[in-house]
């Protein structure tokens, strides 16, 4: 990479300002086009037949009556998805999840799909498909799935990461261990030890917009896909791999996105829509119903976590130990491993050990959810940290400050930290007015810290300078959190022009080089780096065009304050040329002016946050109200502070829902009982206070403007912050999330009964 990504401090005119968001009006007036807003002439409507069983062998599928039904143009089953994965277990899992092959692995698993001339014909045809199942024993609970007599989901899974490899299959597909030092020696030095088990329930990302796509396969091998996604290039590659298409002949266009939070990093129905289109010879529109989104698109893991934490009386943690068990749905993942890596990452520990177990259960395939796996681990560890602080009589913030990781600390997942921001967030919490505000009856205050890795990745950007000097930019990272506005601000800063003269769009897969998904908090970090690079390349072109215009050597022209300027006194009469002036002459100085960039954005840097919250608990009903909430997080540099605050508030809101109400509830039959927003309750505006934010700006040395990813870390602390606040309000330690009214009442009753 020839591009210099190093941070250089400079005076800023555009970056850090708060212009109106460019997508706002379209979104609130219904003009923005989301996944389901796209239609093509003659398109068919698809519906998916899903398993009513949690675990069953597919004995036979008879689609003949559906195929013969009026209006039906195509029916697909696993027979239409030959295994092209060539031994790639991860892709095979995606294939099997898109359309069950030999067994259905969860309630809602797809077994067949129909494309018909209208929705009624498609729905009616689903009823004509006869599936013969041999129902098998199921297991949905993480701890139950680990028991020796649990039904085994996959006979070919043997626990990895243990020596010797077991000879009998198991639902535990992997064990991963991290840490350093000697935890037993550390506990021997402790004056006080906390040891407790925690549980968190499975939650969904809960995006407002269901998955939707329109697929068109043509006879010449080309295809098009309009889709709501966090990564159209990744969707293109996955769909091409699964269906045997040439990736470059599959053009994927991303719609506006109504939330993703990790759930739209994964293909669910898109290969099915393409397969139906290929079979029918027509375009096919497939929109998931809300119930299908819950039953069959990736939620996060349910977990069971044990934590042991020891400290001296003066508040120094001597050892930390955590055993983390995470569900992955029916396929192997690395969810517990991520939990094990992140659980103690906020602290400087001499002795630490974490062990993660990946557990298969008859639930939907887990997908990433905003800082995947970190919130649950933080809930357990931050609860124990709080309890330990109380037990030794130390303020919870002071206790964390005393033990916080800093530059030079060996992280619990291995490497030694460079400069990091946990300390400043804690210092800011310590002095924040929220921390000393008085509390009323039945109210409690909690706080917690959180960590997430962040990353970058492959990124492209095209910048075209119009002949009137206005600028269009195409980027390949989906805008899920305001990155288009941030790109325009960054480009305005680089070019020295107005934000209003720049239009940013998301390019489709045929107009840009490959881009990784918008995940890992990488959207603004990565694409702004590519945009800076593209702008500097465009400036280089404009510098040369100025030299041509003036008929002077290129090396005598430099760029400053949005203008090409001639160097030295011998060109004293030459007025600087603006972008608009250079662009106006471009037709006679060499043609269109553009800047391109294809790069790897790496060095994103880890991220930390500290949250404070106050709750009030009704002791009669167990109902909890969040009455005040504060997020403190390092953004490196907030390019558009409104959006950064929005990310902080959004993560906190999702975490509050997870902490207080949201959970997948399964019946004895292994079927999901609450697949809808009436029974799966996400917080709405009236449930939440104004969430205060404090943006810290400690520049990331690996980005030209010091930017850090901000999208994910804000969901890490809330589970623990809320649970700590509720525990402090009711005087009983809450160890099972969500801390719902029935759980609070049960805990109060148990406490009263001794």
């Amino acid at each position: 990479m020839s591009f210099d990504a190093a941070y250089h401090e400079k005076k800023l005119n555009s970056v850090g300002t708060r212009p109106l968001r460019p997508d706002g009006v379209d979104k609130v007036t219904g003009k923005a086009r989301y996944g389901a807003d796209f239609n093509v002439p003659g398109q068919l409507v698809a519906r998916v037949l899903r398993s009513p069983h949690a675990h069953a062998r597919i004995v036979n599928i008879d689609t003949s009556r559906a195929e013969a039904a009026k209006g039906v143009k195509a029916v697909v089953t696993a027979a239409d998805f030959p295994d092209l994965t060539n031994g790639n277990a991860e892709m095979y899992a995606i294939l099997d999840n898109c359309m069950a092959r030999n067994k259905v692995m969860y309630d809602g698993h797809a077994v067949a799909a129909v494309a018909a001339i209208d929705a009624k014909s498609a729905r009616d045809a689903l009823r004509l498909i006869k599936v013969e199942y041999e129902v098998l024993p199921h297991v949905v609970d993480v701890d139950a799935a680990m028991l020796p007599d649990a039904p085994v989901l996959n006979d070919s899974v043997f626990t990895g990461g243990v020596e010797p490899t077991p000879t009998t299959p198991s639902n535990v597909c992997n064990r991963a261990e991290f840490g350093h030092g000697d935890v037993e020696a550390g506990f021997a030095k402790a004056d006080v030890i906390i040891e407790r088990s925690y549980k968190t329930e499975q939650t969904h990302q809960g995006y407002i917009e269901p998955h939707a796509c329109v697929a068109t396969c043509n006879k010449d091998g080309t295809a098009e896909l309009w889709v709501c996604t966090q990564g159209h290039f990744v969707f293109r590659q996955n769909c091409a791999d699964l269906l045997g298409l040439d990736a470059s002949k599959l053009r994927v266009t991303s719609s506006e996105i109504g939330g993703g939070f990790g759930g739209k990093t994964h293909v669910w129905t898109e290969p099915v829509a393409l397969a139906l289109s290929r079979k029918a010879g027509r375009s096919v529109k497939l929109v998931m119903a809300r119930e299908e989104v819950f039953r069959a698109s990736g939620p996060t893991s349910a977990t069971s976590i044990d934590v042991k934490l020891g400290a001296t009386k003066d508040g120094k943690i001597t050892a930390g130990l955590a055993t983390l068990r995470y569900t992955g749905g029916p396929y192997p993942g690395m969810w517990a491993e991520l939990g094990a890596m992140t659980s103690f990452a906020c602290y400087d520990l001499e002795n630490v050990k974490t062990v993660g177990f990946e557990v298969l259960v008859n639930r939907p395939k887990v997908a990433a959810y905003r800082a995947p796996s970190a919130p649950m681990a933080a809930f357990a560890v931050e609860s124990a940290v709080d309890e330990l602080a109380h037990k030794i009589g130390m303020d919870a913030v002071d206790f964390r400050i005393k033990n916080a990781a800093q530059e030079g600390s060996k992280s619990s997942y291995g490497p030694v930290y460079g400069p990091i921001g946990i300390g400043p967030t804690l210092d800011a919490a310590k002095t924040h007015a929220h921390m000393s505000a008085p509390l009323g009856p039945n109210q409690g205050r909690g706080m917690a810290c959180g960590f997430w890795f962040n990353f970058g990745g492959q990124t492209s950007s095209n910048m075209n300078i119009g002949m009137d000097g206005t600028v269009s930019i195409s980027v390949g990272t989906i805008d899920v959190g305001g990155s288009r506005a941030s790109m325009a601000l960054i480009a305005a800063e680089e070019l020295g022009i107005s934000y209003d003269d720049i239009k940013v769009v998301i390019g489709d897969t045929n107009t840009l080089g490959y881009n990784d998904m918008t995940d890992g908090s990488r959207g603004t970090f990565s694409s702004s780096m590519a945009t800076v690079s593209a702008a500097r390349n465009a400036i280089e072109v404009m510098r040369k065009r100025a030299a041509i215009t003036w008929d002077i050597p290129e090396e005598d022209v430099y760029w400053e304050d949005g203008h090409a300027k001639a160097a030295g006194s011998k060109y004293g009469n030459l007025s600087p040329l603006s972008v608009a002036e250079i662009a106006a002459e471009s037709g006679n100085t060499g043609g269109p002016i553009a800047g391109h960039s294809e790069l790897i954005a790496d060095g994103a840097g880890v991220s930390f946050a500290t949250h404070i919250c106050d709750v009030e608990v009704d002791p009669e009903t167990g109902s909890t109200s969040v009455i005040r909430y504060t997020v403190i997080q390092d953004a490196g540099k907030a390019v558009h502070p409104d959006y950064v605050e929005g990310q902080y508030q959004g993560g906190a809101a999702q975490g509050i829902g997870w902490a207080l109400n949201e959970e997948y509830i399964y019946g004895e039959d292994g079927r999901l009982q609450n697949a809808g927003f009436l029974d799966y309750r996400v917080p709405v505006c009236s449930d939440l206070p104004m969430i205060d934010t404090q943006i810290l700006e400690i520049p990331n040395p690996n980005h030209p403007y010091g930017v850090r990813g901000v999208g994910e870390t804000s969901i890490v602390p809330p589970l623990a912050a809320i649970a700590n606040a509720v525990s402090n309000a009711v005087g009983v330690r809450m160890s099972h999330v969500p801390v719902s009214p029935p759980r609070i009442l049960a805990a109060l009753k148990a406490e009263a009964n001794g």
Binding site: M1, G160, G161, E163, N174, A176, E177, F178, Q205, F261, G262, G263, T265, M334, E337, L338, A368, Y369, R370, A371, P372, S411, Y413, G414, P415, V416, Y417, G418, F453, N454, F455, G456, G457, Q458, D519, G520, S521, R522, I600, D602, G603, A604, G605, V606, N702, E712
Partner: protein, 81 residues
């Protein structure tokens, strides 16, 4: 010389070594020589690794220069939301 620490899952593929010393100037050279010495690491290196140099995690930029005496960790390639 670079001393690279392997995450637990890789160690059985590298004669149960916790860390391996390699002569390498870049991530690319380090990974290539690791795979040459321990062929079992080829698969994970191709699909599944990130490299932390002095605490900064690199997932893709294999041209990254490894400074002398840098602390180097091979980590699992991370998922994000």
């Amino acid at each position: 010389m670079v001393e690279v620490t392997l995450w637990g899952g890789l160690r059985p593929l590298a004669d149960n070594q916790q860390s391996v010393t390699i002569e390498a100037k870049t991530i690319r050279e380090m990974l290539r020589k690791l795979a040459e010495r321990y062929p079992g690491l080829s698969g994970p290196i191709k699909n599944d690794v990130a490299v932390a140099i002095d605490g900064v995690i690199f997932r893709d930029d294999w041209s990254q220069v490894i400074p002398p005496d840098a602390e180097v960790f091979l980590m699992r390639r991370l998922a994000g939301g």
